[in-house]
């Protein structure tokens, strides 16, 4: 493989019903960093049906070039049409780096594509950087977050990685940025379209995305009862915060799964994270330690959560939060 023929930092832009997903804009921000370090360009791969008008938004968020495949075959996400589209674009443009969101789409498309391309894919990266040899260093947790590993893909291109929502930062939109939009036709092999989408159902209550929240109040085992949750809910209303939880609380059925923070839940990095009655298992820390400011309240002063907290309070969380809420309202 002639590696020098492969150039550009490419982002697969995920859209659902025409709405660009935040994770893709976050990746665009990271792609900008990587491309600047490589003195290279950021390419957005925009695929879908009637989506060309979204190209300018991608340019505003850091793309230099938008490669756009706009076709009725790409209306809803399905593995095979999307794999064919991205495969075709990769073969035309030969990216050095290709990033996807680690979503139910990216984690379905990424491995299928990597196998078709015969290249490596590193899942759920938490850190991406360029080495002195101009290679992509991809760092990810392994063993349930107990260990971190930095992965390289030396001899194959593109270097592919997926990144979870909330891990990278998107750039503020700059609508004066200029870029190029290239339309591309995909030569579909429709006989390979073997999976049919019967329907797509949105579920009520599944709409809260805690990775978007500015303030999170997270409930742990120490607060996991009706009284504790009521206190947390009340404070959340006052602070216009969202409620999240540790795995134990979700497993107990007290808080829905889409509000779970941690290795098997979501990665969050709010401006303010309250860890209330959370001891701080490594799987939990993996999902929240990048928060800007962490306040932890726990009875046990040896709790690991205090190792990552900016402000730690040893005490009775119920009483403290109740009083805090009263004073904020008073």
């Amino acid at each position: 493989m002639e590696k020098s023929a492969y150039k550009g930092v490419f982002v697969f832009v995920e859209q659902r019903k025409g709405i660009i997903q935040n994770v893709s804009l976050e990746l665009m921000g990271k792609a900008r960093d990587l491309a600047d370090a490589l003195n290279d360009k950021v390419y957005a791969i925009l695929v879908g049906n009637k989506i060309t008008d979204k190209a300018q938004m991608l340019i505003a968020h850091g793309a230099d070039v938008v490669v756009c495949a706009d076709a009725p075959e790409l209306d809803d996400y399905l593995t095979e049409p999307y794999t064919q589209a991205i495969y075709h674009i990769v073969n035309e443009y030969k990216p050095s780096i290709l990033m996807l969101g680690a979503t139910t789409i990216g984690r379905d498309l990424g491995p299928r594509l990597s196998a078709r391309l015969g290249t490596g894919l590193t899942a759920d990266c938490t850190k991406l950087e360029i080495s002195e040899e101009k290679e992509l260093l991809m760092t990810r947790p392994a063993f349930g977050g107990n260990l971190m590993a930095t992965i390289v893909c030396k001899e194959h291109r593109p270097q592919m990685s997926t990144v979870r929502a909330g891990v990278m930062r998107k750039l503020p939109a700059d609508n004066s940025r200029k870029g190029e939009v290239i339309k591309i036709e995909i030569p579909f092999k429709k006989d390979k379209f073997r999976v049919k989408l019967l329907k797509s159902v949105k579920e009520k209550g599944a709409m809260v995305d805690i990775s978007e929240a500015k303030i999170l109040i997270s409930c742990g085992r120490g607060m996991a009862n009706d009284e504790g949750l009521k206190i947390i809910d009340d404070l959340a209303k006052t602070l216009k915060a969202q409620v999240s939880a540790s795995r134990a609380v979700v497993d107990a059925g007290l808080v829905p799964h889409d509000r779970q923070v941690g290795q098997t839940g979501k990665t969050v990095r709010p401006d303010l994270y309250f860890a209330v009655g959370i001891s701080g298992a490594i799987q939990h820390l993996a999902g929240m330690e990048e928060s800007d400011f962490i306040v932890a309240i726990n009875r046990d002063k040896t709790a690991p959560i205090f190792q990552v907290a900016d402000l730690g309070i040893v005490g009775d969380a119920k009483q403290i939060l109740k009083q805090l809420n009263e004073r904020l309202n008073g």
Binding site: T104, G118, V195, S200
Partner: protein, 260 residues
Amino acid sequence: MNIVVCIKQVPDTTEIKINPVTGTLIRDGVPSIINPDDKAGLELALSLKDSFNAHVTVITMGPPQAEDVLREAYAMGVDRAILLTDAKFAGADTLATSHALAGALRKLDFDLLVTGRQAIDGDTAQVGPQIAEHLDLPQVSYLEHLDFDGKKTFTIKRRIEDGYEMLQVDGPCVVTVLSGAYRPRYMSVSGIVEAYSKNVEIWGFAQIDVDEKDLGLNGSPTRVHKAFSRGVKSAGQLYEVDSTEAVGIIMSKLKEKFII
């Protein structure tokens, strides 16, 4: 109907601890289990055996001791078990692993191939879709429920972030199953007893259909550059004060951060 289920023996990662001095994993005494997503996949296959008299083959790739998970699968009710093991497979990343498994699967007849969505020791969710690609089969990942029409068509509920999708596909196809989708049955006492007399087939490179260059370390595009324990950031201030004072401290911090 023939079903093949791919399973993996994994360390129970919830039991792993880090040596605080050396920063390395303490793996001694950590139990090995069937990966939870795979075990749900096993249950899906066995439920189809109950309803449609399907023949269920289970395959695992790993070192010789991975035979344990095949015995457990026998005790749950599978009909055939294959251990894929060979020094040539060592050091494989997900792509090389999927090539080895695809090589073995080319030797088997099936209408449905079941894998777990992901394994708890790596959490990559890659091997299932990569096998599907090598075998040129359609895939449905994140399976939460499957209905079979008794002929050749599967209707599958796929769980996504804000809801679910209903998808339809004819066999043969590949599905990757979520651990919450099916509650695995317990091993029966007679099953456990019989499991130890059943034949576990040992397959190596010679028994499968794959290009040697795609296997093991040489067939792995990705390499571990370095591994390290997660560094902890330095702790902030810790206060052990009464609740009124604690509230005061929190309030002043929130003001400092322009939150209130």
